[in-house]
């Protein structure tokens, strides 16, 4: 309770467009206090890391990012549009490409929180932290199919907790290709709250790269609401954070939509990385396909908790979920819980999970062709991660040095 109170006291008084949200968030946070391991969503979490996260001051608008950091980022390809979402950017003066406009403050007040409330309930605490502290918010409205791919970069500097909030609405028949990149400096933390509303017949291709370093933390929460005949595909990669918690909550409002999630989390050292995903179908004939992969090394702990919820109304749903895990070290730990809740008889639901190390026969095969063991391991690990990259835009590879990352696991 003390940690929460101290953190709340250090916040500047509510202001800006999120003033009311902040006020409510703070109230709620002081009511619920810190998570406890007796609470189901936190049963496996390392709670000391949450306290560490609260020990960081919330990033303020006066800080300026140094230009050298800007230079270190990959250049923006010509046909893509890049923007920075942090408390330092002047979002109001953004000039956005055609088919894409900023939501006005009035619209933000009207639409923020709608998708969040509608989607299956998620863990309260990370949301309350974000609501209590975020002043940086961006709302985008996408219309038509001509919008160029957009990159949103979220960077936290050392010694700060950066809360950000994003709302994206795709109008009917709109299409968007979005790449989000989260970068965490040592001893930084991010809290990100994202709401997505995919209108009917719209299509959203979403890539997500979260690259931490040192003792950085990331808590992110996505709520996706899909209307009839819409498509939503998410490819996400999360690695390098001492503490990372990714939570997604997806709702097919009237069923009859397509959703895909492919996730990869790679952990090493003492990192703890968890993915929690919930999908619910509030109408018939929805389809959902999920592949969640983890590579776990060192003394790290990887967690996956996936729930597919098929209520009675969701007849003829077709959903599948596969959790595949590579455990590379005898000090590392994996917990995976792929769950199904079904109250409809005419559905196809399947899930599966595997945990193993690299196949010795495969390693041996490569070695017998003269490839030394380290390189062979690397090749196999790359193969394991392949499906996630295969379905992501090539630009993603500019942000990640996979070879280097995989070598660091061995």
């Amino acid at each position: 309770m003390l940690a929460t109170r101290k953190w709340l006291e250090a916040l500047s008084s509510p202001n800006g467009v999120l003033k009311t949200v902040q006020r409510n968030g703070r109230q709620h946070l002081s009511k619920i206090g810190m998570p406890a391991r007796t609470q189901d969503p936190w049963r496996l979490a390392d709670l000391t890391r949450l306290e560490e996260l609260l020990s960081l001051p919330v990033s303020s608008e006066t800080l300026n990012s140094s230009s050298s950091e800007q230079d270190s980022l990959p250049v923006v390809p010509q046909d893509r549009f890049r923007l920075f979402l942090d408390s330092r950017s002047d979002l109001g003066s953004l000039s956005l490409p055609d088919g894409c406009r900023l939501l006005s403050n009035d619209e933000l007040e009207r639409f923020l929180g709608q998708t969040l409330d509608k989607c299956p309930s998620t863990t309260e605490w990370p949301i309350a932290i974000n609501q209590a502290s975020a002043s940086c918010v961006l709302g985008l409205l996408i219309s038509g199919k001509k919008v160029p791919p957009i990159e949103v970069i979220l960077r936290a500097n050392s010694n700060e907790l950066m809360p950000t909030r994003l709302l994206i609405i795709l109008e009917e028949k709109a299409e968007l290709d979005l790449l989000q990149v989260f970068l965490g400096e040592a001893n930084s933390a991010q809290s990100h709250l994202l709401e997505i509303h995919v209108g009917s017949d719209a299509k959203f291709t979403h890539s997500w790269l979260a690259r931490g370093s040192g003792d950085s933390s990331l808590m992110s929460q996505i709520s996706v609401q899909q209307d009839l005949n819409s498509e939503y595909a998410l490819n996400f990669i999360q690695y390098g954070w001492e503490f990372a918690r990714f939570e997604s909550s997806l709702l097919q409002v009237d069923g009859n939509a397509n959703s895909t999630i492919r996730g990869l989390q790679i952990t090493k050292g003492i990192e703890q990385s968890s993915t929690h995903s919930t999908v619910r179908f509030d109408g018939p004939e929805g389809s959902f396909d999920q592949l969640q992969k983890s590579v776990i090394s060192g003394s790290s702990h990887s967690i996956f908790h996936g729930l597919i919820d098929v209520p009675k109304i969701a007849q003829r749903t077709n959903a599948s979920q596969l959790s595949r895990n590579l455990l590379l070290s005898d000090r590392a730990r994996i917990d995976t819980k792929p769950e199904l809740k079904i109250v409809a008889d005419d559905v196809k639901c399947a899930h599966g999970a595997t945990v193993s190390q690299l196949q010795q026969e495969e390693l041996f095969y490569l070695q017998s062709r003269g490839i030394e063991s380290k390189q062979a391991t690397n090749l196999l690990l790359k193969g394991f991660c392949y499906d996630i990259f295969e379905n992501s835009p090539v630009e993603l590879e500019n942000w990640i040095n996979l070879d280097q990352l995989l070598v660091s696991l061995q």
Partner: protein, 480 residues
């Protein structure tokens, strides 16, 4: 023609074991406290070590809270409103069946469990437990010739106290969970099996549990110990009369397998499940656990769960001995307002341990059928393997099927594979069978039985036929 409707009606066969036997019963007054625990122990003329065990368990239980994580909806149980001891009056264990109350023999006859010598099932020894008190054990002498002990726990306490002292509570400690704690304090009777070193038990052993009293909590305790290189197959069957109140059944089963020993434990559970409106039925909160203590030991659980208003049961294996094997094969059929939350825990401790889980859940009507399981590979479980398969079949659009597997590994050289799927009886499959002259009922029954085949194959022969019949019975009836 919509086949879904009759499909649901099909499974609404009335419970045929719902009669009450009119025998004089000795009951103590309602409620639980230390005096009640002492009284039970006194009535059973127990040695001091067991009374101490019960009292310690009672005190432990007082500090425990009833679990609510299983998300089972049931009204609060008033533990002071239950009777903790009931026994047929002439409860002295009989030397010969001739002395057993003929009404009891008749009861078991009606249930298809003939105890009289001439009608006995071939090669199955039966321990009949009536209201948690063992009334007869057959083939005792023949078993004794092989050194096999098969008797009630009460007898074992007096005749083999050293074994009871050594093993009782060693697999399911009294502080394990709320219901195990309660059982440890007040357990009335149950079966005890001891297979000496190197002996393959010459016949199937079977306990048949019958609940007769409506307001009495049922707390049996079963303990099976298989010494080095021995093996045994044990069967358990359960029925109860129909009451419109709920009866609590909180049994504890402990299995111990030493080096190279193997225990196969099969259950066909058909407690009264309540009526079609969900009134009455047994609350079946059972703790079953096997400990593969020795190297290359094996414990295999098979169960066919069709009864009880609520089932809460996770027969588990602690695979401690290197190269030991754990198995769990389960069929759970729920109908009306039944809830079944069942599954297993496979805790791999030793190296090269193996486990297999096959779970088939069939939900009908408004029932809920959940698989909940844990597979854990400890840090020393090098080369351990697990394979799990959890399939659900739904009949009717109000039925629900949930799967909650938890997989945890701390050992890279362990392999875990889990698969789960959900299906229904498709109209096309039904039509295909019908178009070959097979009636609707039989077609459904064939498909349900086909769905369960992997599990039935694991049951001992006599039981497999019984289980198949039981499912067919549940699926039989009023086709419109």
């Amino acid at each position: 023609m919509n086949s879904q409707k009759p499909l649901e009606e099909l499974v609404s066969q009335p419970y045929k074991y719902g009669f009450v036997t009119d025998v004089e019963t000795e009951k103590i007054s309602k409620g639980i406290n230390e005096d009640v625990v002492r009284l039970i122990s006194e009535k059973k003329k127990e040695p001091k070590f067991l009374l101490d065990f019960r009292l310690r368990a009672y005190r432990t239980w007082l500090g425990m809270t009833e679990p609510n994580w299983a998300k089972l909806g049931y009204p609060v149980i008033d533990y002071q409103d239950l009777i903790y001891y009931a026994a047929p009056k002439k409860s002295q264990k009989k030397q010969s069946l001739d002395e057993v109350d003929p009404k009891l023999l008749e009861t078991f006859d009606k249930l298809g469990i003939p105890l009289s010598e001439q009608k006995r099932l071939s090669n199955v020894a039966v321990d009949a437990v009536f209201d948690s008190v063992s009334i007869a054990t057959t083939y005792k002498q023949k078993l004794a010739d092989h050194g096999v002990v098969f008797c009630s726990i009460t007898e074992a306490v007096n005749e083999h106290p050293e074994l009871i002292k050594k093993y009782l509570g060693s697999v399911v400690p009294m502080n394990d969970n709320f219901f195990a704690g309660l059982n440890s304090a007040v357990f009335s009777d149950g079966s005890f099996v001891y297979i000496p070193k190197g002996v393959d038990c010459p016949m199937e052993l079977s306990s048949y549990f019958r609940i007769n009293s409506g307001d009495t909590g049922q707390f049996e305790r079963t303990l099976i110990v298989a010494e080095e290189g021995s093996s045994v197959s044990y069967l358990e069957g359960c029925t109860a009369p129909m009451f419109d109140t709920n009866t609590l059944h909180a049994a504890v089963v402990e299995l111990v397998a030493l080096d190279n020993a193997s225990i196969k434990y099969s259950t066909v559970q058909n407690w009264y499940s309540g009526n079609e409106k969900g009134v009455g039925g047994i609350y079946n909160f059972v703790t079953k656990r096997g400990h593969c203590r020795g190297i290359r030991s094996k414990i295999s659980w098979s169960q066919v769960e069709t009864g009880s208003a609520i089932t809460w049961k996770y027969p588990s294996c602690v695979l401690q001995g290197n190269e030991s094997t754990g198995e769990f094969y389960s069929v759970a059929l729920t109908n009306n307002y039944q809830q079944a939350d069942t599954g297993t825990k496979m805790l791999h401790v030793g190296s090269n341990t193996r486990s297999t889980i096959v779970s088939k859940g069939i939900s009908v009507g408004r029932s809920t059928n959940s698989y909940r399981g844990l597979v854990q590979m400890g840090s020393k479980a090098v080369g351990a393997r697990n394979y799990s398969q959890c399939d659900s079949m739904l009949i009717g659009d109000n039925a629900s099927a949930n799967t909650y597997p938890h997989i945890r590994s701390q050992q890279p050289e362990a392999r875990i594979e889990h698969e789960a799927s959900t299906c229904r009886i498709s109209e096309e499959q039904l039509f295909y069978l019908q178009s070959r002259g097979i009636g609707f009922e039989e077609a459904v029954s064939m498909m349900v039985s086909g769905f369960c085949r992997d599990v039935f194959n694991q049951l001992p022969m006599e039981f497999a036929a019984e289980a198949d019949k039981l499912l067919a019975l549940k699926l039989e009836g009023s086709v419109g």
